[in-house]
């Protein structure tokens, strides 16, 4: 093989409709390197990797694997030549065991029968060799997210791949799990393998990558040796201008309790208790953050407050007035606003224009006589939001489905902050899938809202976001609040590790961090 790169893409172009996802992108991934591909959402990095893996076909350009040009690329071609991919959303069958999942599609046979014992022992050897500690006989649905990811990596290794592409591998991991993953990846490289890492988290890039490719708007804009690189340099390349990553916030004076939740018990989607007695108070002028691994009751908490989900027991009140059991529209009328966790699911009608979406949830405030919508006022309203939040394209009649994720989210935040008589703002994952520029704007608006006396409840999977925005932070674990941290604890050096430990139930707050079991 000599000095042939493990994976090489030459002048790859790919368009989806009118959108160029990749424009003449070239990438050389050397053997035994950890090559990070970074960029904002929509920069085209996932598309590029899908092309490398044969999952999508390029309109133009060449894919070379280990010095060999692949003419008609496909996933099976990629795997046959040793290129494997770990997707962000795992492709596992929950009811099967680890071993069964790993061999699925390429089952080893003996005399025509499935030879799971051989598979299990092979997997055990692999997992010991690379420190991927999982029991081959465990059922996948019983595993933690971090362990499931190991199963995905094992799938790739078991198929004999030595080039592993990982798409946003840490998005679902706690900080400790992410560090374990990095140890595994370094081990792989020492063993002669090559890792390609798609991410938008810069600290990870700096911690682990040997080489960094930065993409912006479908093009490769920069490439660096990781040694000596700073986060500012990468961000500058990603965004095309210097960016302040987190907003400064001044201490404010606390006002009256605006949102109060008492003894809240809620049943989740599968009939199991999702919230098991939640008490929380958010006062005017503060941001209360809620941390937790996804699926620990965050969605149910928000839905119970907004009125989208029935409550078994407990009360929710706004400005001291109980709203439990009231319809959603009533809750908005007494001062609630809600930025939903998934804008495509709950926040926007994608087939509606910007102006129609700008009044969704406030449509009753825009009627003239006979319940007819006052189009002029709707349009003025949309124009105002577009102007104030720099929403693009600045055309109120543009369909929301044709906007970038960041602009869609800006529209949602703008709309929610434009409500009348606003006192409580609930923001669930307000910057998920949003580019850095929009993150900056949304964070600034949230701080402004807090400064003008709103009570803000912030739920996020990004610990950095929670830490920099929250005045207080509550940790949600299995439907209960297991700890609440004040400013001092939030600013402590080891805050992220402590929060991460609490999120996984590894740290009993009564015992203190040093006594943490495991």
């Amino acid at each position: 093989m000599g000095d042939q790169p493990a994976l090489e893409l030459r002048n790859i172009s790919k368009t989806y409709g009118a959108v160029a996802a990749n424009r003449e992108v070239s990438l050389r991934v050397e053997h035994r390197s950890i090559h990070a591909v970074v960029g904002e959402n929509g920069a085209g990095k996932s598309t590029l990797m899908k092309i490398a893996y044969g999952h999508a076909r390029a309109d133009a350009g060449e894919v070379w694997i280990k010095g060999e040009r692949i003419a008609r690329h496909s996933v099976s071609q990629a795997i046959a030549r040793g290129v494997g991919m770990v997707h962000q959303h795992f492709m596992l069958v929950g009811t099967l065991t680890v071993a069964e999942n790993v061999v699925l599609g390429q089952e080893p046979r003996r005399a025509g029968l499935l030879d799971l014992a051989r598979a299990a022992s092979e997997i055990r050897t692999l997992s010991q060799k690379f420190g991927l500690d999982v029991d081959p006989d465990a059922r996948v649905e019983d595993l933690s997210v971090g362990q499931q990811q190991r199963v995905e990596i094992l799938k790739v290794l078991w198929r004999g791949c030595d080039v592993v592409i990982l798409d946003e591998p840490t998005a679902v991991l706690t900080p400790a799990e992410a560090r374990d993953l990095f140890t595994v990846l370094r081990g792989l490289v020492q063993d002669g393998m090559t890792v390609v890492l798609i991410t938008h988290k810069l600290d990870e890039v700096l911690a682990i990558a040997t080489r960094v490719t930065v993409m912006r708007r479908g093009e490769r804009v920069a490439e660096y040796e990781a040694e000596g690189l700073t986060a500012e340099q990468i961000v500058h390349a990603m965004v095309g201008r210097p960016v302040q990553q987190y907003v400064d916030k001044q201490p404010t004076s606390l006002g009256k309790p605006m949102l109060e939740v008492r003894e809240l018990r809620v049943t989740g989607a599968r009939g199991l208790p999702a919230l098991r007695g939640i008490d929380l108070v958010v006062r005017a002028g503060e941001i209360l953050g809620i941390a937790g691994v996804e699926g620990n009751g965050q969605t149910e908490l928000v839905e119970a407050i907004v009125g989208l989900r029935d409550v078994d027991r407990g009360t929710v009140s706004i400005r001291g007035k109980p709203i439990t059991g009231q319809p959603v529209a009533h809750r908005y009328s007494v001062g609630l606003a809600h930025v939903p966790e998934d804008r495509h699911d709950r926040a926007l009608v994608l087939d509606y224009s910007i102006q129609d979406n700008s009044i969704l949830g406030q449509q009753r405030d825009f009627v003239g006589s006979f319940d007819v919508l006052d189009r002029d006022r709707v349009r003025q309203h949309a124009d105002r939001l577009i102007r104030e939040f720099d929403i693009r394209p600045p055309d109120p009649r543009h369909l929301v489905s044709g906007m970038s994720g960041g602009n869609q989210q800006k529209l949602v935040v703008a709309r929610e902050l434009s409500r009348r008589a606003l006192s409580v703002l609930i923001c669930a994952q307000p910057t998920r899938g949003v580019d850095i520029g929009a993150i900056e704007a949304i964070h600034r608006r949230m701080i402004e809202a807090r400064d003008r006396g709103l009570a803000v409840l912030l739920l996020s999977a990004e610990l950095g976001e929670l830490r920099s925005l929250s005045d207080r932070l509550a940790v949600l674990y299995k439907g209960q609040i297991v700890a609440t941290l004040g400013q001092e604890q939030l600013l402590a050096e080891d805050a992220l590790d402590n929060i991460g430990a609490m999120m996984t139930g590894a740290w009993n707050p009564g015992a203190g961090p040093k006594d943490a079991p495991q």
């Binding site: 989806y16 409709g17 009118a18 959108v19 996802a21 904002e40 959402n41 929509g42 920069a43 085209g44 996932s46 598309t47 997707h87 962000q88 959303h89 798409d167 946003e168 998005a171 938008h200 907004v306 989208l308 319809p327 959603v328 529209a329 908005y332 809600h338 939903p340 998934d342 699911d345 709950r346 926040a347 926007l348 009608v349 994608l350 087939d351 509606y352 129609d356 969704l360 949830g361 449509q363 009753r364 825009f366 009627v367 006979f370 319940d371 007819v372 919508l373 189009r375 369909l399 489905s401 044709g402 906007m403 970038s404 994720g405 960041g406 869609q408 998920r432 899938g433 949003v434 580019d435």
Partner: protein, 360 residues
């Protein structure tokens, strides 16, 4: 809308070719038959009137199906709803005192028919909300029940002896003909056009229409926007049923002047095709109803040349072609991607948007 017109133009071409093959097979000249068909439908006042008479109920059932589609429901019970509506319209018309002023008598009869259709469809909506039973099952089962109940009540109490029809309605409740040299086209066409305009206005201009459309596109976002889904489902079924129930105005008040078992033929089910051809838009529905009305009457008008069944085949080919073309482009009625959407990671919003634009 432009693309929709293109699709239908293409579908008509496909149907015309298929029809040509059939006509040629019988030994006639396709061009001559088509020419005759056009001449006998749109070429004479009487032909135009007969086309309009057949288009009127199709407009109403098309609107009925469309209203349900708009909020994401599939009402395939227009057949039963129009039967119930026509039956009640006829009973009403026969029971009203002859001294009542005409406009009032007509209004009472039409409203009674709409109420009957609304009640029937509303019941299907309530069953869905209350017990979670799918509206397709509810509406089609109610079709059977209504058909049986009308026959039973009719035979036992209201049908004229030894017939399957009710008594003739009183004169003041009849609708006048539109002229067209003795054709059956009557003023219920104006009612249908008025309702089409009203439905368009409702969906495009009113707050409720805004909410209903939102429910059709994304019920979860609408719910988060303070819309109560149960109310919208029942409301849309009621409106859908009322539109189907108005069909009685055309047949009972405007043409036959009594209810007869089987009245309207399959115009309830054809409403689904009309809504599909009309791209779920009131103006499109009016045009689609005229197209199908032309083929229906045209088939009759040239039946001494070729069997009229050929034109039923043509209708079906048009509908099939449009359905295939719509599905092929990834659209089914609402402009939503019908193809299984690829689950992309949450953090690739931009790329997902790009993919959506590609399908959209």
């Amino acid at each position: 809308m432009k693309r929709g017109g293109l699709t239908i133009g293409f579908a008509m071409l496909v149907a015309a070719l298929a029809g040509s093959v059939l006509i040629w097979f019988i030994g006639k000249s396709p061009l001559a038959v088509y020419g005759l068909l056009l001449q006998r439908t749109w070429g004479t006042p009487y032909g135009i009137g007969e086309v309009l008479f057949r288009a009127t109920p199709l407009i109403l059932t098309g609107l009925s199906v469309m209203v349900a589609f708009k909020v994401g429901l599939f009402n395939i019970g227009a057949q039963g709803q129009l039967a119930a509506g026509s039956f009640i319209t006829a009973l009403c018309g026969a029971a009203l005192p002859a001294s009542l002023p005409g406009p009032i008598a007509v209004a009472v009869c039409v409203l009674a028919g709409m109420l009957a259709g609304a009640a029937l469809a509303g019941l299907a909506g309530i069953l869905k909300i209350r017990y979670g039973a799918h509206e397709v099952i509810n509406t089609i089962m109610l079709n059977f029940i209504v058909s049986a109940v009308i026959l039973w009540i009719g035979n036992a109490h209201v049908f004229v002896k030894y017939t399957l029809h009710t008594r003739v309605i009183s004169d003041n409740a009849t609708l006048s003909h539109l002229g067209f040299t003795g054709s059956e086209a009557n003023t219920s066409l104006l009612l249908a056009l008025g309702l089409a305009a009203a439905v368009a206005y409702f969906f495009n201009r009113t707050r409720r229409g805004f909410e209903w459309r939102a429910v059709g596109h994304n019920p979860r976002a609408a719910q988060n926007g303070g819309v109560q889904l149960a109310g919208v489902v029942i409301g849309a079924m009621v409106m859908s049923g009322a539109l189907a129930g108005a069909v009685g105005a055309n047949y009972v008040l405007g043409s036959k002047h009594y209810y007869e078992r089987g009245i309207g033929g399959d115009v309830g089910f054809m409403g689904i095709a009309v809504a599909l051809l009309g791209r779920n838009h009131p103006a499109g529905i009016v045009l689609a109803a005229l197209l199908l009305g032309t083929l229906q009457y045209g088939g009759l008008a040239v039946s001494e040349q070729v069997p009229k069944e050929i034109f039923q085949i043509l209708q079906a080919v048009i509908i099939l072609t449009v359905a295939c073309a719509s599905a092929y482009r990834g659209h089914l009625f609402k402009g939503k991607p019908a193809a299984v959407s690829v689950k992309v990671s949450q953090d690739t919003g931009g790329e997902r948007d790009a993919a959506e634009r590609e399908h959209g």
